[in-house]
């Protein structure tokens, strides 16, 4: 019950933040010099055509009116027309969102698993060679931009070893499976089309790995440092002195408290991951929302930019709420401590 109230409260608050954010973006975009209508139609378009587009886009109206039109449309699900694809932005989002979701999902899962694994081992064996090796790898993970990883991976696995593809979600010549969930891997699995499944996975490996290396390293460091902190804690000493075997201490009594900062950082890491997707989808030509958004930004397709940003903000907000719920579930001190009035 507490959880439900908590979630609802957070959602309400987040909607306000989202609205505020949309106002901010709107303000930014509409305030800068330059004429979006002219940009859209190009240099050679006659003036009266441009003027008509300006009317359509309400560019001559005062700013609050423009915002009002936009919000009205957004409530109905109409986010305007994309200047690049000439379709409704909503359509575009629908088409591209799932591709990004698939990539981000796998990347995120991979990140969480590897970070936990590396962080825990590094923390448990801290100051040994295992720890030092992991720390060096983690360090390079943090300092290397995602696109550099992309380049290196492409160089090694596509050009040198020639085992992994670099473009898109599926090799040309393969038909994608019927649209059930929109995630090619899941659809292929459901329909039993294993050839497509394997091909899709192959296409996922390089982009997903480039995406998650940086955030994974950051998360692994936090897991490691919280492990090392907790190793010094009195209760670990106490549990040892009560005769609880090392194995149990490591996998049970140390893991859970160490995990709590790890989960919090997972939310932040996912944010970085999403940010990276804008670069990676461009490099690997992945037909996802981030590539679409990136192109929109480069071409100043403002409707699309606003829409993509809002979508991702919403996603980020949901992720944060989930993370908070999990952290509350793991650490009883938060709720119970409050209940005792401490």
């Amino acid at each position: 019950m507490e959880i439900i109230k908590f979630i609802i409260k957070r959602l309400f608050y987040s909607i306000f933040v989202l609205i505020g954010f949309s106002m901010l973006i709107f303000l930014f975009i509409r305030c800068i010099p330059g004429d979006p209508a002219r940009l859209a139609l190009g240099e050679n378009a006659p003036e009266w055509v441009v003027e008509r587009l300006r009317e359509e886009m309400h560019l001559n109206d005062p700013i609050y009116k423009q915002y009002y039109y936009w919000i009205k449309g957004a409530m109905k699900g109409d986010l305007g027309i994309s200047l690049t694809t000439q379709r409704s932005v909503m359509e575009d989002i629908r088409q591209f969102f799932l591709a990004s979701l698939e990539l981000t999902l796998y990347s995120g899962i991979l990140m969480a698993i590897l970070a936990t694994l590396f962080g825990t081992m590094s923390g448990w064996y801290n100051n040994t060679w295992i720890d030092n090796v992991f720390r060096i790898i983690a360090y390079f993970g943090i300092v290397t931009p995602s696109f550099v990883f992309a380049i290196f991976f492409v160089l090694i696995f596509s050009y040198f070893f020639e085992i992994l593809p670099t473009i898109g979600r599926l090799s040309s010549g393969l038909t994608p499976p019927p649209y059930i969930t929109g995630l090619i891997t899941v659809d292929a699995l459901i329909t039993g089309n294993y050839a497509v499944l394997i091909d899709a996975i192959k296409h996922l490996i390089l982009p997903a790995s480039s995406l998650m290396m940086g955030p994974m390293a950051q998360m692994a460091r936090i897991v490691r440092s919280s492990m090392v902190d907790n190793l010094q804690k009195d209760y670990i000493m106490a549990e040892r002195s009560y005769g609880i075997p090392e194995r149990v201490i490591m996998f049970k009594y140390l893991l859970k408290p160490s995990f709590i900062p790890g989960v919090s950082i997972a939310g932040l890491s996912l944010a970085i991951l999403i940010g990276n997707s804008f670069l990676i989808e461009l490099v690997f030509n992945w037909p996802g929302l981030s590539r679409y958004g990136m192109n929109a930004m480069l071409r100043k397709d403002l409707n699309s930019v606003i829409a993509v940003t809002i979508v991702y903000s919403l996603l980020f907000i949901i992720i944060n709420i989930i993370v908070d719920v999990i952290v509350n579930g793991l650490d009883p001190r938060i709720e119970l401590g409050l209940a005792r009035g401490k």
Partner: protein
Amino acid sequence: MKNNNINFEKISSQRNRLGRYWYKYSRNPLSILGVITIFIITFMAVSAYYLSPYPESAGNYINFTEASQPPSFVHFCGTDVFGRDIFSRILFGLRLSLLMAIVVLSLSVPVGVFAGLVAGYFRGKWISLLIMRIVDIFIAVPTLLMALVVCSILTPDVFNAMMAVSIAWWAWYARIVYGVVSSVRGEFYIQAAEVSGASTGHILFKEILPNCLSSIFTKMSLDVGSVILIGSSLSFVGLGAQPPTPDLGTMVADGAKLLPNQWWIAIFPACAIVIIVLGFNLMGDGIRDMLGSEEA
């Protein structure tokens, strides 16, 4: 005679403190490595003009006879399609990266810290709520995304890129400082200062701010690397420095199209980015360890 004694004590206590900081910092050899790396890079960047073997490569230089040469003794990192020496361009590119870090932090940190101080001190009043809601809005989105959006709206330009990253960055400092100030707010010495008539400015800057300094410095030293990372990401997609200005991110982007044959055009700038961010991160970690373990 009396003056002499006092000076002596003051110097020795200061020296002791600096010495202690240095001792703590230097415990980790990696931190020393970080500082050395930073020194070298800064030196190289500052004296790029004098160090680079082909300074004209930083500008509108075209020499097709020398184009696309692999690394050699003549050109340490090879040349690009226009015949420009990559090593020289990297040296000049370092300048831009360092400049971006300096500008972004100089802008975003004071703004963020001030906002956090005000919000934390006047907690509960409308100004505090307003500031923190604005902070929440800016934090609602991943930093890279925010910088990309702002940057794409403006004309692609080094200066605009720095503006964009600064805008994306200030809110995090506000949040950290808000946290520290909120916890320090209830301490007795603050109430004592208020009661004895100290001005708000004095309280904010002389009493409260020093408590936040270690968090701020820690975050700043760790942030330098991140700012350079994000900056290079922006220029990778073309939103930063425009040609022919040499910038590490743009160089990687240009070279990426030419893989794998002319690998040096992309790889060397990429390594440069990694090394510079690595150096700053090592140094930042050292500073964090040094400031954090004051309980020793």
